[in-house]
């Protein structure tokens, strides 16, 4: 009986154990960490949600986007604008001689509505892009390049349309969801909001990827053409994944902007998009846990390294990355999974050998 339970635990995939461990750790983190560390962790968690969305797209669907931060940015900017227009015309507009708030900013007044618009708009644009792109035979790097161009377009647009976006300076003083000039959530409360949302998103992604749709995404990655001959319209699924990934990215932006208090073009451009790719690669692509672990690991490493070694921390980071490639070619979580699998097949093999030996006897 006990053995049965024990075996059951043993048979749990190792990264699911990491998930649970991580969740417990994150839940008790505010109990022992300084407040600003908790805030930092909250911010990294938002980035982890963002990474999850790209992992869906890239790790599962095989669609590498180097412009994914655009959707993140849409979410972040909507919330940012919401708090910029709370007190009438924001300074950056008055400065440019705008006298009345443009109509399209009116719905953003309410933070909840702004958040929903942020998520919805990100999903919509990503769906439109998906629809536009996947109705042709685009694959591989060509998709990547389209996203690259999109990111370039989007960040240049934000920079140059200064009178609506405050350009390069970005948006500041974003509150942690204060309603009607009321009290915003306090930092720890907001941390738990992020944590809960992150956990829900994670569960959703897990459900999605273990679901048939997730399997179909993987088979698109593996052999899209073949899938068509089984009657699937691969483009529908790709658009679906794009949309979901876009919506989650938008959601992460919505959470992120209040967590830092600001959002700028540097958070949403090509460089930012590339960084997420790197985080996922470090953590391990295509198993969800990797995206989270990679994001938290790299961001914490950055923060701690930069405290310790002021001017060469990036150099050290670079070397760490190289070492990761050498010793964990499938990322941190990928490595752990393969270790576990190795142990299992060893066991299985050993089992088989004894069995066949018995056969012989």
């Amino acid at each position: 009986m006990m053995g049965g339970i024990y075996n059951k635990i043993r048979s749990v995939q190792i990264h699911r154990m990491i998930d649970i461990g991580l969740l417990v750790f994150l839940a008790v983190f505010p109990l022992f960490a300084e407040e600003f560390r908790v805030e930092m962790m909250g911010r990294y968690l938002c980035l982890a949600i963002f990474a999850l969305s790209l992992d869906l797209l890239w790790g599962y669907g095989g669609l590498l986007s180097l412009g994914h931060a655009v959707f993140f940015g849409i979410g972040g900017y909507m919330i940012g604008l919401c708090y910029q227009i709370q007190f009438g015309l924001p300074a950056f507009m008055t400065r440019e001689k705008i006298t009345v708030l443009p109509w399209f900013y009116l719905p953003l007044k309410n933070p909840i509505v702004a958040a929903l618009i942020g998520i919805g708009l990100a999903a919509l644009i990503s769906a439109i892009l998906g629809f536009f792109v996947f109705s042709s035979k685009i694959k591989g790097v060509f998709f990547t390049i389209i996203t690259l161009a999109l990111a370039q377009m989007f960040s240049q647009f934000i920079i140059t349309e200064q009178k609506y976006t405050n350009g390069f300076n970005g948006l500041q003083s974003i509150k942690r969801f204060a309603m009607n000039h009321g009290q915003p959530l306090d930092k720890i409360e907001y941390y738990y909001v992020i944590l809960v949302v992150a956990a829900l998103v994670f569960l959703f992604c897990m459900w999605l990827t273990r679901n048939r749709v997730g399997k179909i995404a993987v088979s698109i990655r593996e052999n899209e053409q073949r899938l068509g001959f089984f009657g699937y319209t691969a483009s529908h699924y790709k658009i679906l994944i794009m949309t979901i990934a876009g919506a989650i990215a938008g959601l992460s932006g919505v959470l992120y902007a209040p967590a830092t208090g600001s959002i700028t073009v540097q958070d949403i451009g090509i460089a930012a998009s590339t960084l997420v790719v790197v985080w996922i690669a470090v953590g391990g692509r295509g198993n969800l846990t990797g995206a989270v672990v990679g994001t938290l690991f790299i961001n914490w490493a950055q923060s701690l390294l930069s405290d310790q070694f002021s001017s060469f921390w990036q150099l050290i980071l670079g070397i760490v990355l190289i070492l990761i490639i050498f010793f964990m070619p499938n990322g941190i979580v990928g490595k752990i999974i393969s270790l576990q699998q190795r142990r299992r097949t060893d066991k299985m093999m050993a089992g088989q050998e004894t069995a066949s030996a018995e056969d012989g006897a």
């Binding site: 140059t160 060469f312 490639i325």
Partner: protein, 285 residues
């Protein structure tokens, strides 16, 4: 009218710049399928070589071109042997590896040269035709671009090594089984691609100066150009840089540089959508 002509000549120059900067990437990314995030930094190495040769040792610029090719190629060879070799056909890992390399190179450069350095203009002077001005150096850039293009095309289409490279990129194992030392050829090809990036850095340095963060400027544009051209076609890349360079400059002439950039990015999205495999792609089975 004169303005139009001068914009077109400026566009030609920009196209040449794009082409020069992209050629190395066409080999490393287009042919060898290595998503090289450190391409800009390889260009940077070429730029610093130009600075060291002409600025510190006061040697002639043409020597700088040769030396930057050699140095960057050797560097490419080094990272291919040490790192990239194990990562062929593993896009995730190569992105990570080349990204790490790009950080390391940038940081080293920043420690040695925190300030941008100047590379003396080797060909000052200009042509003036009415109100159209064409600097000599622009003409030189166009010629260099064409020269490199022709050499590279010849190398790949007509030489044995070129053919071997193409075979390797399509089926590494089988090519190896046919008795071809794929490891050696990989290294050489990578080195050649890196060397081209080095030349790019060297010839672009006199117009822009060299700084540790110049790599980032080139990365996006070179990838866009390479892919619009069909990722592995040299001619395609030439045409793509022509189109992108000219349209950017012309549009900038009538609006401004930022909007030109936005519009060209948009056009690229549309173009790639309708030509999903780039401009120059031949249908296969």
């Amino acid at each position: 009218m004169a303005f139009l002509i001068s914009q077109m000549s400026n566009g030609l120059n920009q196209s040449a710049v794009l082409l020069i900067a992209t050629l190395g990437l066409v080999i490393i990314f287009g042919l060898m399928k290595v998503i090289n995030m450190a391409h800009g930094q390889m260009i940077m190495i070429g730029g610093f070589c130009a600075y060291i040769v002409t600025g510190i040792f006061s040697l002639p610029f043409c020597l700088a071109i040769v030396i930057s090719f050699i140095v960057t190629a050797l560097f490419g060879m080094l990272i291919e042997i040490v790192i990239i070799k194990r990562l062929y056909a593993k896009p995730t890992e190569t992105i990570l590896a080349t990204f790490a390399i790009s950080i390391i190179l940038t940081e080293i450069a920043r420690m040695v040269w925190p300030l941008a350095v100047n590379v003396k203009m080797p060909l000052p002077g200009k042509f003036t035709l009415g109100s159209v001005t064409i600097p000599f150096y622009n003409i030189f850039l166009v010629l260099i671009a064409l020269g490199l293009l022709v050499c590279t095309i010849y190398f790949f289409a007509c030489t044995k090594t070129g053919r071997k490279i193409r075979a390797i990129t399509q089926n590494r194992q089988m090519t190896e089984c046919l008795g071809i030392d794929t490891a050696k050829i990989d290294t050489l090809t990578f080195a050649y691609g890196a060397g081209l990036a080095g030349i790019a850095g060297c010839v672009l340095a006199p117009t822009t100066g060299v700084s540790y963060d110049m790599g980032a400027t080139y990365l996006t544009n070179t990838f866009l150009t390479a892919v619009v051209g069909g990722a592995q076609s040299m001619v395609g890349t030439a045409v793509a840089s022509g189109i992108i360079g000219e349209s950017r400059t012309l549009l900038a002439g009538f609006s401004n540089d930022t909007w030109a950039m936005i519009m060209v990015s948009f056009a690229i999205i549309v173009l790639v959508r309708f030509k999903p495999e780039g401009l120059f792609y031949k249908e296969g089975r």
